[in-house]
Symmetry: C2
Subunit: 199 residues, 2 copies
């Protein structure tokens, strides 16, 4: 492909670090930013700069945070004895939005994946162990994803909890509300069937 | 949706200026950049900064360029008497890559669209008129898109050319090479049928 100049080429390349952006979309984005939306390009540049400078991780729960402790960890009104463990920051936002949960969170920022070199250290398990050993925890809610890696990670953590006699719960599997039976995948359906309850 | 902090929110908002990026992808991109790829985020920030500073338009053909005249306009070996008019910078790259064309280009950076306030001024038509009046042009190749707006824009420019007795050509319409007849839309098929040639 012919080049329009080194800065334009470099911008196209840099945009490809965004998830889901291939060479064609990177080119479209580059022309859009430079041709029609320089204000948007400048806003994006400044917001990247500010975020890189100011966004760190909460020292307690490891969620992305602009303060040393995130707003949930520094809220004295939340229960201290419930701990919900999730894979990603977006999971915290989803649970906060959907439920009335008022306990603590711990964000793994991933799941165990030995082949990718992601072990307990990367997921902050030493920090989690210090947490469990230093403060009373009544219940650990394992809210990792229902994938092979998420289940393996949940199993690993449940062993840590069991060794400390902490009760462990797991989000219920089943038919999504409003979902139609015939469109639910068979693993979910079999889970839901086995976990049926009296009405 | 709960907020993780003002800088994080602002980055999510800013990413939505990219074409095809809605709230969900903006959130995914934000977490990806801040959680897993800070080097990529920094590279994107620096490349936006450099591009905003260094990328302007070629003063002759209006393509995005980092120099006053683009590489094609400053190439003395290209024919001066052929002028290909396109809507977008990407069209120049596509034609350069696909054909042996060695003439000049003029980039409209859009098409006539009165409802969006895009008239001849916005498309650089005054510059184009000065070009046509100041230098010998043997042929104008109208390579705008085969859409209603592209055709209207082509018609407008062909009137300018006709008034100056300049020959105007248009890219041929027809069945794409390797395309199967039954998958070609009916307008294209009717064009191709009407334009059939002896073999
Ligand atoms: Zn926190
Ligand atoms: Zn040029």
């Amino acid at each position: 492909m012919a080049s329009l100049g080194p800065n334009i080429d470099e911008l196209m390349q840099a945009l490809r670090c965004l998830p889901g952006v291939g060479p064609k979309s990177a080119q479209r984005m580059t022309f859009q930013l430079l041709e029609r939306n320089r204000d948007g390009a400048e806003r994006l540049m400044l917001s990247l700069q500010a975020a890189l400078q100011n966004v760190r991780h909460c020292q307690r729960c490891r969620i992305l945070s602009e303060t040393e402790l995130c707003s949930r960890c520094s809220d004295p009104d939340r229960r201290q004895d419930q701990l919900c463990i999730v894979e990603m920051p977006s999971d915290v936002l989803a649970i906060e939005q959907a439920t009335a949960y008022q306990g603590q969170y711990f964000v793994l920022n991933g799941h165990l994946s030995p082949l990718d070199g992601i072990g307990p250290e990367t997921l902050g398990i030493p920090t989690l162990i210090r947490w469990l050993d230093s403060q009373e925890t009544e219940e650990i809610i394992l809210a990792t994803n229902p994938t092979v890696e998420g289940e393996a990670t949940a199993h690993y953590i449940s062993e840590l909890a069991r060794a400390r006699q902490i009760r462990v719960t797991r989000l219920a599997h089943g038919i999504p509300l409003g979902g139609e039976l015939e469109y639910v995948d068979s693993t979910t359906l079999s889970h839901a069937f086995a976990g049926r309850g009296t009405v």
